[in-house]
Amino acid sequence: MYDVIVRGGLVVDGSGTPGYRGDVAVLDGKIAAVGKITGDARRFVEAEGRVVAPGFIDPHTHFDVQLLWDGAAKPALEHGITCVVPGNCSLSLAPLRAADRQQVIGMFQQIEEMPPAAFTEAFDWTWEDFAGYRAAIEKSLSINVAPLVGHSVIRLWVMGPDAQQRAATADEIVAMQVMLRECLDAGAVGLSTSFVDVDENGRPVPSRFAQFEELDALSAVLGEYGRMLQIVPEFYAIDITIARIDQLAELSLKHCIPTTFSPVFDSTATPDNVARTMARVEEQFARGARVWPQMQTRPIDISFSLLRPSLFFARLPRWVRILRQPLEQRIAALRDPETVEKMVADTGPDGGERMMGRLVIRGGDSAPNALAGRTLSEIAKDRGEVPALALINLSLEHGLDVALLSANAGHEVTDRIGPMLAHPLVHIGASDGGAHLASFSTYGDTGYLFSEFVRKSGAMSLEQAVRKITAETADIWGLKDRGRLEAGKAADIVIFNADTIGRGEEYPTFDMPGDGMRYVRAATGIDTVLVNGQIAYAGGAYSDARAGVVCV
């Protein structure tokens, strides 16, 4: 008697081989059999006409805080994600002394844009060490977690305030090695570091003060465990990124570790960047190094409001001058009819239709909900105004707190991105799930992979796409029990409709502690998600199952 049999679906098992009609049997949280199954089960899940695949793995998230009150990392799980990797970009919530919490909260708020209440109301700080953090999240997980430990917090633990001031001494480096070993023993799947991130005061995070000797010593510890080194390179300059690829390759070869870096994204303004990155990655893989570039599937949107200066207007000198002013003077200028007339004229004879008409009102701000999702062009027509004037007047009516979105402004050319994602050395990831909460949704990238690059462009087959975000990810990260529909593997399973799976529409919601706002996307095309053999999501609803584990 099995616990569950998923019957009659198109089994796409993560290996990349062609899907076939079959069943998947589950017993005691593991996959018991795959194929034509005749046995009985306590529960049957009908999958006729749907794809049955291994649960998706998201290798770059910042769910560290959210997991303390939301063990499903919503809405990641409903998008078919059954395993998340938090602790990226040098930041994790352990090891962390009580006295250092406020400092790390500031760093997290900078990256995640999480409201202060998330750190003061939503959970009790019961831990300092990594094992304690693991115990805290394990109480109610319905998604699996493969956590990284952050270099910045290890540094802070060992060096205190000096972590954000100077290079480490030899003794301090040894102490960091000891701490990293302790974290890896407690379930960390690797170390993350950053050469880019800043805290809430704009100061470099502690990991950026490390010399190469320190990273080398920590990588030696990773080598003892064969674990991952994740970095954020100086992605704003391609030449420095390439130098970091070389540095990662040396660490990978010397210590026999996998490494990964992100973000990697395409821009028509720098059309050679990805090609140059991949050329170097290919060279280093040919030498035997493992340097995995992580690329996101979703396009980059630009968001802004008139509340703060934005470079979006950097081709409109009058707008720049006015929006650069302090708030009170800015509002006064925007209320002056003569000034506004000139501003509108600057946007062209069409009143900004070409320049601004496609901007979308985002919602989640002071603008009426009814306007969310509508274009400025539509709203302007309703108001009997041209778009530039509608933008100014609408913003004035709501204290300038009207968020606008310029969609698909980068990493947006499907015909370019598809082949990049399909490249055998490109690691699909970099979702940043759980971060950038108030800026854009970091959920649904896996759905977008299928809707845009399998269905629409055909850049990869269904089986290739599934493999990319399941077995391949598990192999890269050394998650031995995950990523495949194979007897003996963990029963992480997603059942979805290949014709409708997508990322869903973005919308604002106020479900963060303290009624904090974030942008999310509700899944489309996902029927059922099993985590370690239990149904965690089905028919559009989350279950009470808490079968998630910290997986290694």
Partner: protein, 70 residues
């Protein structure tokens, strides 16, 4: 040939974190050119430091003006 890198072009691009960013093209003393992408805060500071109200006005400025804005 100047003795230091100068800005030879600038344009607005999408940044990884969803803001408008400034892509600067620098020409180095040896003639080589290469792009550097500045985050929104740094880009805005650069424009202010240079007294620029249009990205095209950044052309010809020294790379040191970028550092002044950091």
């Amino acid at each position: 040939m100047t003795a230091e890198a100068i800005i030879v072009g600038a344009q607005i691009v999408a940044g990884h974190d969803g803001s408008a960013e400034l892509l600067i093209n620098l020409r180095h003393p040896n003639g080589a050119e290469g792009p550097v992408q500045l985050d929104e805060a740094t880009g805005l500071k650069l424009m202010k430091t240079c007294g620029a109200t249009h990205v095209d006005e950044l052309t010809g400025q020294s790379w040191r003006r970028i550092v002044e804005g950091l």
